[in-house]
């Protein structure tokens, strides 16, 4: 391609745009600055630019999603062919399956604890970073580290912390004479197992929540806080009356990302607790049903339910937490 400015073309030429349609090139088709070209002149260039993305999205996102919706009403079982319509049969089987229902309860725990703890921690960290100080950039760089690491490997890192023989927690317990310090932490007691698995996920998802809330806090002008001090408000009052309400857009987005991550948790329980039912999540059961039992139909139904719950709860969070902020 030649350089745009050096080329000696005083007036732009017409562009050949396929389908035999010719568009005058003397007008910039900016979305904001120029009126729409007349209908009959079909401009192919934007379609050409968008086409590859559209093909990917249709072929590898919309079509698969349609598959999931349709086939969840079919018996698709490699061990029990042929594929046949079963109505809500898959859904009924799911609700009668104790293993699946146990994983639903586990996942509910992950969601409630994970969204709650990560949001509270993120608000605290964002407030801590709200005003500039020396070294803030470095703290932010370190803070986002857990977000950047693969969940599976985080499971490996934390299994070093939880290990009965060489782990940090049991080491500290022994050092400070709180006990013998060889306790089996994971897999022993269901509640403790779930809590420790969720700690690892909170470690991963809190950085993004913090950043999102931090960004919302950066939009609050200092004068509001100064005015509050003049009016006699203490720190806590400033926090509850200024910071929290104005951070609501950031908090809402943070909660939605935490919700999606916790509802679909897979890596952490899979690595930390294996296939054991004490920590299994719904996504893990979907995986086992589909790829170990080869009962695709039930897998489709379960993943469809997870998707519906994810979208519904996300909308609920947005509805109740999000507020448009005008400053």
């Amino acid at each position: 391609m030649s350089a745009p400015r050096g080329s000696a073309r005083p007036t732009p030429r017409a562009h050949d745009v396929g389908r035999g349609v010719v568009v005058e090139g003397d007008r910039f088709d900016g979305a904001t600055s120029t009126p729409r070209p007349p209908r009959r002149r079909l401009d192919a260039l934007p379609y050409v630019l968008v086409a590859p993305v559209a093909i990917f999205i249709v072929g590898l996102a919309l079509v698969p999603a349609a598959f999931t919706i349709i086939e969840s009403f079919f018996k698709v079982d490699a061990l029990d062919p042929p594929t046949r319509f079963t109505g809500i049969g898959n859904f009924v089987e799911i609700f009668q399956n104790h293993t699946v229902m146990n994983s639903v309860a586990n996942t509910a725990f992950y969601v409630v604890v994970g969204v709650g703890v990560s949001t509270v921690l993120a608000i605290a960290m964002a407030v801590l970073l709200q005003h500039p100080f020396r070294g803030r950039g470095l703290v932010i760089a370190i803070l986002i580290l857990p977000w950047a690491l693969p969940g599976v490997v985080e499971g490996i890192l934390w299994s070093g912390i939880f290990d009965p023989n060489s782990g940090l927690i049991n080491g500290l317990v022994a050092t400070f004479h709180l006990g013998a310090g060889n306790a089996v932490l994971l897999g022993q007691n269901q509640l403790l197992t779930l809590a420790l698995i969720e700690v690892v996920q909170v470690w991963q998802i809190t950085p993004l929540s913090t950043l999102l809330i931090f960004a919302a806090l950066q939009l609050i002008p200092d004068e509001i806080y100064e005015a509050a001090v003049v009016d006699g408000a203490n720190q806590w009052r400033s926090f509850t009356s200024i910071t929290l309400p104005l951070a609501r857009p950031g908090i809402a987005v943070a909660m939605v990302q935490a919700l999606i991550a916790t509802l679909n948790i897979f890596d952490q329980p899979y690595v930390l607790n294996g296939a054991a039912s004490t920590g299994a999540s719904v996504t893990m059961e979907t995986y086992f049903i589909s790829f170990q039992n080869l009962n695709f139909g039930q897998g489709y139904a379960l993943s469809l339910l997870v998707a519906l719950v994810t979208v519904t709860l996300s909308l609920v969070v947005v509805r109740f937490v999000y507020r448009k902020v005008e400053l």
């Binding site: 979305a31 990917f56 590898l60 996102a61 698969p64 986002i144 499971g155 890192l157 470690w203 990302q257």
Partner: protein, 278 residues
């Protein structure tokens, strides 16, 4: 404000930093120890006799575990690099069209692409596996990369769209008046200005690729294409692999994303915020 100098602030900041790095530190400590030193009581909080043996085994050993780790490290690098290159290229073209052209169906297309971001990943897991299996793309780089690209495109389009939209149109208008074609304007005027946005998008896409587990677990069942994350999870279940060697493997798996996150955090933070707000 006096609260900014409050001693509790420093304590709190210290806790935030400790919380973020202690699990990494503990794995690093363990990786530098022998298995017996790691299990010794009282527990060693620092490696008293550090050794690089675990890393030596992983990087030059001939055992199954070491050879597998090295091969899967190569796999993850190939898959993430290819997925990032394809995603950023396609997303940049589409994002530019969405940001700068008026065309029939633009909004419908744009919001459809964005809406797929809301699909939980496992909605499409089973059908994607069956599609890839029908086309003979299970256990191929192509299969993995296609699935990654389809998953990463929406966010990349969104971030780049916002970036292009923030560039003043006057620059492009000047280029057009000087006689450049629309693609010349894009290539020579807009892209150079969009470099920071493209770097952000590329880094975030690469990190997403590196973090993938469930999809490659299903789409690559042998070492020919298994990324490091999948192999490490498989090794974790085998009790023959010493925990200190697992720690070293874990460090190997986080080295690349950790360096990216620390070195380019400004790009990543700005990209994430562009992708998540507005």
């Amino acid at each position: 404000m006096s609260a900014r100098r409050h001693p509790l602030r420093s304590v709190a900041l210290g806790l935030v930093i400790l919380w973020s790095i202690v699990p990494i530190y503990w794995a690093a400590k363990s990786a530098l120890q022998t298995e017996s030193a790691a299990r010794s009581r009282p527990v060693e909080y620092f490696p008293l006799h550090p050794t690089l043996d675990n890393f030596r085994i992983l990087l030059s050993g001939q055992g199954d575990v070491a050879v597998g780790i090295r091969h899967s490290l190569l796999n993850i690098v190939i898959e993430c690099t290819a997925a990032t290159a394809v995603t950023v290229t396609l997303a940049a073209l589409a994002a530019y069209a969405f940001a700068r052209f008026t065309f029939r169906g633009r909004n419908v297309l744009f919001y459809t692409v964005l809406a797929t971001m809301a699909f939980p990943p496992n909605t499409t897991l089973i059908p994607l596996y069956r599609i890839m299996s029908d086309f003979g793309l299970v256990n191929t780089y192509t299969g993995i990369v296609l699935v990654y690209v389809s998953g990463f495109l929406p966010l990349a389009v969104w971030v780049l769209h916002n970036y292009f939209a923030s560039i003043p149109t006057s620059i492009e208008e000047a280029g057009r008046i000087d006689g450049a074609s629309r693609m010349q304007v894009f290539w020579h005027l807009v892209l150079p200005l969009a470099v920071p946005g493209i770097i952000s998008t590329a880094l975030i896409t690469f990190l997403f690729g590196w973090a993938q587990f469930l999809f490659p677990l299903v789409l690559s069942t042998d070492l020919s294409t298994q990324p490091l994350t999948v192999l490490i999870a498989a090794l974790q279940g085998r009790h023959v692999v010493p925990s200190t060697l697992m720690s070293a493997a874990g460090l190997l798996a986080i080295a690349v994303p950790a360096v990216i996150a620390l070195a380019f955090n400004r790009y990543i933070v700005s990209g994430l915020l562009a992708g998540s707000t507005k």
